[in-house]
């Protein structure tokens, strides 16, 4: 994988749709205190599957949705998409689609729903996405999206298809990415590897093995 793009809307202080393109070199993120740099790191940690609000510096998951300023109302959805480049294996597993569809929360993974008709459970109401997504899917790219609504519901999507958290975690198995990954060092936590328990250090090496 190579990281190509991050897009966020309604996530913490990023009220408007914001897009960061990455090249192959190192990128610096700079700005005054409190402007939103660490919020970007939280967004990437969240879309990779982070489940604990505490690890995202909040009390509840709703703290992740833009909660307004003096001049702007709070929004009702937070969405983050990660576009990764991977010319190899992924093509076969997730056929690329042109338009993302909103699928009832809790459905099975994209690969399964592409093959067989899904059983509609009681109470499934399709939730229309808040904003028409401008994501485009190209060959060799994979786009992972996570949405959270004020109601507490959250959706995961791979290339526009609803999927489960497990599907996203499977994608990143063995690459060191994923929630609590050693590849994401949050602010003030660089010394944590040293003060953690010896058994925690072992699990970091096991993950890399």
């Amino acid at each position: 994988f190579k990281l190509k793009r991050v897009e966020l809307i309604g996530f913490k202080s990023f009220a408007d749709r914001t897009r960061l393109e990455f090249g192959s070199g190192t990128a610096a993120v700079v700005g005054p205190n409190g402007c939103g740099k660490s919020n970007l790191g939280d967004a990437i940690n969240w879309v990779l599957g982070e489940q604990s609000p505490r690890s995202l510096r909040g009390d509840r998951m709703a703290d992740l949705i833009f909660n307004g300023t003096r001049l702007r109302p709070a929004t009702s959805m937070a969405e983050v998409s990660l576009t990764l480049l991977d010319a190899t294996a992924l093509e076969a597993k997730h056929p690329v689609r042109a338009i993302p569809i909103a699928v009832p929360a809790g459905t099975t993974s994209a690969a399964e729903s592409a093959g067989a008709a899904t059983e509609v459970e009681d109470g499934d109401v399709p939730v229309a996405p808040q904003v028409p997504s401008r994501l485009h899917f190209r060959d060799g790219e994979i786009v992972i999206t996570r949405r959270l609504f004020r109601s507490g519901e959250s959706e995961y999507l791979i290339n526009g298809d609803a999927c489960r958290l497990r599907d996203i975690q499977d994608l990143f198995m063995g690459t060191g990415l994923g929630p609590d990954s050693y590849a994401i060092i949050e602010q003030g936590r660089i010394g944590q590897i040293l003060s953690s328990k010896p058994s925690d250090r072992r699990s970091i090496i096991e993950e890399a093995a």
């Binding site: 990281l3 990128a27 993120v29 005054p32 740099k37 690459t175 060092i185 010394g191 590897i193 096991e206």
Partner: protein, 164 residues
């Protein structure tokens, strides 16, 4: 499996000894199994900055702890390259000469791993071909100003809007 773990442990340990020497300009860094006879044993870290006695890592200074952690992280990356790595102000506790060694290491690793560095340190900004400025011109709402410059000296010509 146990064999896979031991293989990873030994390879990463060899990397760690090297990255420790590079970041500290000498000295010894190593991982040790807390209990050799226990297949599920935890891992202890030993660090000996150049000229000092071998000590418990807790006694190290703030800057030294950051360097040991970075050396271990890079040692793991050399074994299992991760697609990207986010480091949020890890250069904050470092003095000028250690920032120099840190940025040299990142530059060397950037062939295989993509780094995203949140920083306030101008020396760290200088090694980044791409720079995103985050501003809150509208209070409470983050906006991005992107500046891409190929060579670091362009940094001085940053548009005033993005100067921090």
């Amino acid at each position: 499996s146990r064999r896979q773990f031991l293989e990873a442990f030994q390879a990463i340990n060899a990397n760690f000894a090297e990255t420790f020497r590079t970041l500290f300009g000498g000295g010894v860094g190593a991982m040790r199994l807390s209990d050799e006879s226990d297949p599920e044993s935890g891992i202890d870290l030993v660090a000996q900055p150049p000229g000092k006695r071998l000590q418990n890592v807790l006694l190290l200074s703030g800057g030294e702890k950051a360097l040991v952690a970075l050396a271990l992280l890079i040692a793991i990356f050399r074994y299992t390259p991760s697609p990207f790595c986010i480091l949020d102000e890890v250069d904050a506790p470092l003095d000028d000469s250690n920032v120099e060694r840190f940025t040299r290491m990142i530059r060397a690793m950037s062939q295989t791993t993509q780094f995203i560095l949140m920083t306030h340190n101008k020396r760290t900004m200088e090694i980044c071909p791409l720079m995103y400025g985050v501003t809150m011109e509208e209070p409470g709402v983050s906006k991005l100003v992107s500046v891409r410059f190929e060579t670091p000296q362009d940094a001085d010509e940053l548009p005033a809007a993005a100067s921090f």
